[in-house]
């Protein structure tokens, strides 16, 4: 599967499955994406290839050790990465060129949600982020896998 920025200058190849898809409503994601919320999924570094345009990618350190990457030509938000977890890239789903065949697990940071946006779907909602709710993510993922295989 490929992911490209709007101008096509940056192309990322993802050779394996995405991790859980999460909707993040934190104010940083709202600002960084200019949107109601971000749709993000972790990708292991071993599945991740910067196939084109590495020289176009710019990074902004939005909190200590957290880098948000975007295309310097067109501005598309691409992914974030953490210095502490160099084996993971958190891709922005909007840049995917095909169906990731993953559906969102839940909404996070709903306490920071944009006031102009109402969540209308039935997915679980969590007040805090994916770090704080890591156990719930694990449980939901396990349950989803069990459902799929049954």
């Amino acid at each position: 599967m490929t992911a490209t920025c709007l101008c096509g200058g940056v192309r990322i190849e993802i050779a394996g499955k995405l991790g859980p898809v999460v909707y993040c409503h934190c104010t940083r994601c709202q600002k960084a994406n200019g949107s109601a919320f971000a749709a993000n999924a972790d990708v292991r570094a071993k599945y991740w290839t910067m196939a084109q345009g590495a020289e176009l990618v710019r990074e902004y350190e939005s909190s200590t050790g957290v880098f948000r990457a975007f295309c310097g030509t067109c501005g598309s938000p691409l992914y974030s990465r953490r210095a502490a977890t160099p084996d993971v890239f958190r891709v922005r789903l909007g840049i995917l060129d095909a169906d990731p065949e993953r559906r969102a697990l839940a909404h996070f940071w709903v306490g920071d949600k944009a006031r102009w946006f109402d969540i209308a779907d039935a997915l679980p909602q969590f007040a805090l982020g994916t770090d704080e709710h890591a156990q719930e993510i694990m449980d939901m993922t396990t349950a989803a896998m069990a459902k799929k295989s049954s």
Partner: protein, 131 residues
């Protein structure tokens, strides 16, 4: 008056007046430009949007002929777009608003192009294509 800014705070704007509309756009260009499931745009008179800081770091990308998408070159936040064909209006990216603007999205456009992982569950009108 409503204010907005990019993630790093270098670009700041003021939005005055009553917006013409606010909608969720599911087109592929908006999804790629925002890296998101869909964009939410506030349509306002061009004269009602004032960039009050960071004009020097505001970069533009021409995504269609004579249509420019402006973003912060420092942090990447998409800020607004402007097209010559509709020169009187701007389309401001709602995620950059600082506070509750007091108005709400009233439609989905390009709903037929929505991301495969997106389900539209609210009761807002849906246009398969643009306006």
């Amino acid at each position: 008056m409503t204010t907005g800014r990019c993630l790093c705070g270098a670009v700041r704007y003021e939005l005055t007046g009553t917006p013409i509309g606010m909608y969720h756009c599911h087109c592929s260009q908006c999804r790629h430009a925002n890296g998101a499931s869909f964009a939410t745009n506030v349509i306002a008179s061009a004269e009602d949007l004032k960039i009050v800081a960071g004009k020097d770091v505001l970069a533009a990308y021409e995504s269609s002929p004579s249509k420019q998408r402006f973003f912060c070159s420092r942090c990447g936040s998409p800020i607004y777009s402007h097209a010559q064909a509709t020169a009187a209006i701007v389309s401001v990216r709602a995620g950059t608003l600082d506070d509750d603007p007091g108005f709400r999205p009233n439609a989905h456009i390009h709903a037929a192009s929505r991301a495969p992982w997106t389900e539209i569950c609210d009761g807002l009108p849906q246009n398969a294509e643009g306006f």
